[in-house]
Symmetry: C2
Subunit: 595 residues, 2 copies
């Protein structure tokens, strides 16, 4: 597909160009579903050295791309015009809100048919052939309609750059007739320079932060989930460790900080959590809020939002000091050099010790003091989440679905160097199963590539998901099997939508679901039988005894192949924080509270 | 929830008002998925006398509502703000394009939180809280944001009216805090009067049509799929019978005309089909084109579009004579009285006989002359579709998914009085399985209600679907089981996306799918075991012998309960029309053809 133009510059096909750039950005796999407007695009996947995932449907492609992108910093998905595009748009919305980098490449009709407003399949039949792009504008950070071949390479580069820098989905339309159009091959790596980067400004922000820390008597660090997008997790951990400042995470930020760091304090739940913890936050004279996501749910009804007048918000490229932007002229810092400067400055600064008390619900203490239920007893949430901590290992990838799981997981004690993924804003149930597929794939690739991030990867990717959420996107299991991904899926079967029951309609049948035989999933989706390369486990646990012996099995512990473990819990049981929080939600909805 | 205001007028809750109106329009069930912003809405479903379907996910809710609405003329779906809404929007797009009436009721955040632009879960976190409504504007015929209680009842009425009259989806936002707001109870039935209706105009259109018929020597009737939306199928059949005019249907319109009518000629496939048929159409001096849908796929690359200068297009409310609108001042006719007048006028008119020749591919002839393969032979498409005709019965509901199925089904010989549902424009695979759920439910309700339409209902709802399409929305089977719907699902397992193979990439792995054990579906989704009220059949057919003995089984024939019958076909086999057509599609995409 390569040739040269008159001036000897190498010419390649436009589609090849796109995938070349994506490979430069670290992409290893392409998610998506074929369709007649994108089939010729797919011809370029393998030759580019990329792997085609082939999802069972497009929503799952989107969710999986999100999971993949959170780990690799880039992901790509190819869908078919109209139908494939709109099927995935809910995942794109989530990726926009929670910042996952997805390049959504849509194969669109040939330009002449578009110009003619032809009555094409996958359109609405009324000539409005670009409304899908219009709809995507609401949920993507950049859009490119590649109808002008001359401008296409630059447009592709700019769009991919936005995707990477903003860590948000972008939308590219590639008409079928231009897939093969010739463009100059890239001669240098894609430009990812940060617009508005200003070293002096960076230095100033760092020194302002350090000064504020020096002045503070009772500082705290808050770790919001968006800090994971900075891609400087190691440096952030080092900062927490060096300063010794008491550090809380939000639910969405759990897992970013190694929980073994002595000044790590656990998940801060505001009004719903420990009162000792809350008092400490209320009395803090400085809060360094890294990558905050102050959604109603993530802040337990805004009760876990630190006071603005003591807060320095540290976003990816800019900081806000006590509600003021650090710079309004568009100057920004780069997270990598910013953190390097911050660490250097802090190393040279003598800081006092910052004593703090731990509340009675500090998970490691609860875990230490846990008196395990006897083996015939039913499995209950509060003990379950605590004791699952013992199953986790350094280097695991752990995903937690919305529902009781996300609330329960707040009290899991995480080993160091894990990836912990959940949703703190979009909370679209069904997200995590395909995200598990994407995350496991991304890590497997990183390991193959010998990337530093994956050095300590345990090989295990573990999902906790409710039975209701599982139903949304269950064909994600098929995608996992197809791609032979090592995953452990722990399904919490509690007969329906328990989190919703706590909010409203406890006994209403609308909170019931069709009971599935969940342990048949692997077989239904075509998992291999007796394949030592991809062993399959499907088991149920109805009591502590059953659960414990399952988790102790070496094959379960190893996490190789696919394991679906169904844990039965009572429909009426829920983790304590959820019980406390549900009332807030119900009341807000009824009384027209702002929050 | 009822009381009276000062003036003694009965007051009811806004949400009750909405459901009351929907019941007046014939609604019997509400599709959807709960979420915390809509739970209190769901409290009103049962008290209104409505049934809650409770789908496994929202895309399936949307598809099912489409299937339900096509039969009942109205459907409703409740989803959760943001995540539920966007999950379903691909189905809404299809319903817009192919005209299915869906009232999409979204539970939105309380108005104060919306006004404050709060960082709410299921939003993008940036205060743009109504972008989901903005996105829905592209694919819905009317939108209502019920934030003004005084205006809400009139707004609801107007929105529902648009839904019914246009047979298209509409979008209603009901903030949680206004679910219980008091509004006057409706005192009269909802106004469905047709704006612009003009009897004189109606008479004039009818006489112009009759005149044109009288002048014509070689007339034809074309039956487009949108004619089903006129809801005067009986009258249209009578018209075809009375005039004796040779009548073709498009793929999308198949099933509207009883195929036993002597002048019914079969599906017209333009350049891809029979040459005798094509010659007749080319020579026609008048084409009465009922409810056309001239999409590329439905017209086999626009080759089955009748010539404009001989065509009278009969849309639902207006006609176009030889490319001219019958009226440009907005005057319309009403399908019911229009057809009554047309029938009356035609009865009083002496028409000649219109001889026509049948092409060699006329399905009833092919069926008569079919020499069935011997029992050990593999099942092949062309014989399969023809011979499945013998399985069908009057009163069946038959759905056919995009893929090889939709092409093959063109040569099925349908018994009279069936409902035949497919997609002719949107062609989003996975649509038909949930649509089967919706359609079977709608018909069951109609039978219970003693409605005339359901008088001859066989009780059977039969779906033909490819293995790839099944994977998209497979949890539709769960919804079928949950609602105990009598359905027969015939899965064509040909190892992947065969229709795509024919278009491009015949042997490419991107056209493969993960092989499932499809006959385990019912069990996985929790189908009852040994329940005589809801028997479950799961069988495979790999040869003609196996298929024939299966279809001859009385329990299979009866169609009670759930049957999943997996029919294996060769990956390389396809119905003849598809083989012919695929080349067109591939070429159009590559060469930038307008069509
Ligand atoms: C796509 C989508 N639809 C609906 C919802 C509303 N919702 C939030 S949690 C939940 C129930 C989750 O149930 P399950 O996974 O069984 O977890 P449980 O709380 O029972 O443990 C629902 C329906 C949502 N968040 N996303
Ligand atoms: C939502 C959606 N995604 C992708 C497509 C593109 N597409 C059209 S037909 C088809 C394959 C259908 O395969 P299958 O159902 O197995 O039928 P077959 O042709 O193999 O009989 C695909 C992927 C689509 N139409 N809709």
């Amino acid at each position: 597909m390569t040739n040269t133009n008159g001036e000897g510059q190498e010419q390649i096909d436009l589609c090849e160009y796109i995938f070349k750039r994506l490979v430069q950005l670290g992409l290893g796999s392409v998610h998506g579903v074929p369709g007649d407007y994108n089939l010729t695009i797919l011809d370029y996947v393998k030759p580019a050295g990329l792997n085609w995932v082939g999802n069972a449907n497009e929503l799952n492609s989107g969710y999986a791309s999100d999971g993949y992108g959170r780990i690799k910093g880039i992901s790509a998905m190819v869908t078919s015009y109209g139908v494939g595009d709109l099927s995935a748009i809910n995942a794109i919305g989530g990726a926009y809100g929670e910042r996952a980098p997805i390049v959504h490449l849509v194969g669109t009709p040939p330009t002449a048919a578009q110009e003619a407003g032809a009555c094409l399949h996958h359109s609405l039949g009324d000539g409005r052939l670009r409304i899908f792009a219009d709809m995507n504008k609401f949920v993507t950070a950049a859009q490119a309609n590649l109808i002008d071949v001359d401008k296409a390479p630059a447009l592709v580069d700019a769009t991919l750059k936005t995707c990477v820098l903003e860590s948000r989905p972008v939308y590219i339309e590639l008409p079928t007739n231009l897939v093969h159009a010739k463009v100059p091959a890239p001669t240098s790596p894609i430009d990812l320079s940060l617009p508005g980067y200003d070293e002096e400004h960076e230095t100033k922000v760092v020194s302002s932060i350090v000064e504020s820390i020096q002045k503070s008597k009772k500082p705290m660090i808050f770790m919001g989930g968006l800090a994971a997008r900075f891609r400087v997790t190691e440096e952030i951990n080092e900062f927490v460790r060096l300063t010794g400042i008491p550090t809380a995470t939000m639910t969405f930020g759990k897992g970013i900080i190694n929980e073994s760091i002595p000044n790590y304090q656990g998940v801060y739940m505001g009004a719903v959590g420990d009162t000792v913890f809350k008092q400490q936050v209320d009395e803090a004279d400085l809060v360094l809020d890294f990558g905050p996501m102050h959604s109603d749910v993530n802040t337990f009804g805004f009760s876990a939002v630190p006071k603005a007048d003591v807060t320095i918000t540290i976003n990816q490229y800019s900081a806000k000091f006590f509600s003021k932007d650090s710079d309004t002229s568009g100057r920004v810092y780069s997270p990598k050099s910013f953190m390097a400067k911050l660490l250097k400055s802090i190393s040279a600064t003598k800081l006092p010790e910052y004593p703090f008390k731990r509340g009675s619900t500090y998970p490691p203490h609860l875990l230490q003091n846990l008196k395990p239920s006897s083996k015939n007893e039913k499995i209950e949430h509060d003990e379950f989440w605590l004791s699952m901590s013992n199953f986790l290992r350094s280097g695991d990838i752990i995903l937690v679905e919305a529902g009781t799981a996300i609330a329960g997981a707040c009290s899991m004690v995480l080993p160091d160097n894990v990836i912990f993924m959940n949703s703190g804003l979009w909370l679209s149930i069904g997200y995590t199963l395909p995200a598990l597929q994407g995350a496991a794939l991304a890590r497997r690739e990183q390991r193959k590539e010998g990337s530093k991030e994956a050095a300590g990867f345990s090989g295990r990717s573990i999902l906790f998901i409710g039975d209701g959420s599982l139903q949304m996107s269950v064909q994600g299991i098929s995608d996992i099997i197809r791609n032979k991904l090592d995953t452990t899926i722990i399904v919490i079967n509690n007969d329906g939508y328990t989190v919703e029951r706590y909010i409203h309609g406890f006994d209403e049948s609308y909170n019931d679901i069709q009971p599935w035989r969940n342990t048949q999933a692997a077989s239904f989706f075509g998992a291999p039988i007796n394949d030592s390369d991809y062993p399959v486990i499907a088991e149920q646990a109805r009591s502590w005894g059953e659960l414990r012996s399952l988790l102790a099995r070496p094959d379960v512990e190893k996490g190789k192949g696919l394991a679906v473990i169904e844990v039965f819990m009572d429909l009426k049981d829920a983790p304590l924080p959820l019980k406390n929080f549900a009332g807030f939600m119900a009341n807000r909805n009824k009384t027209n509270g702002k929050n």
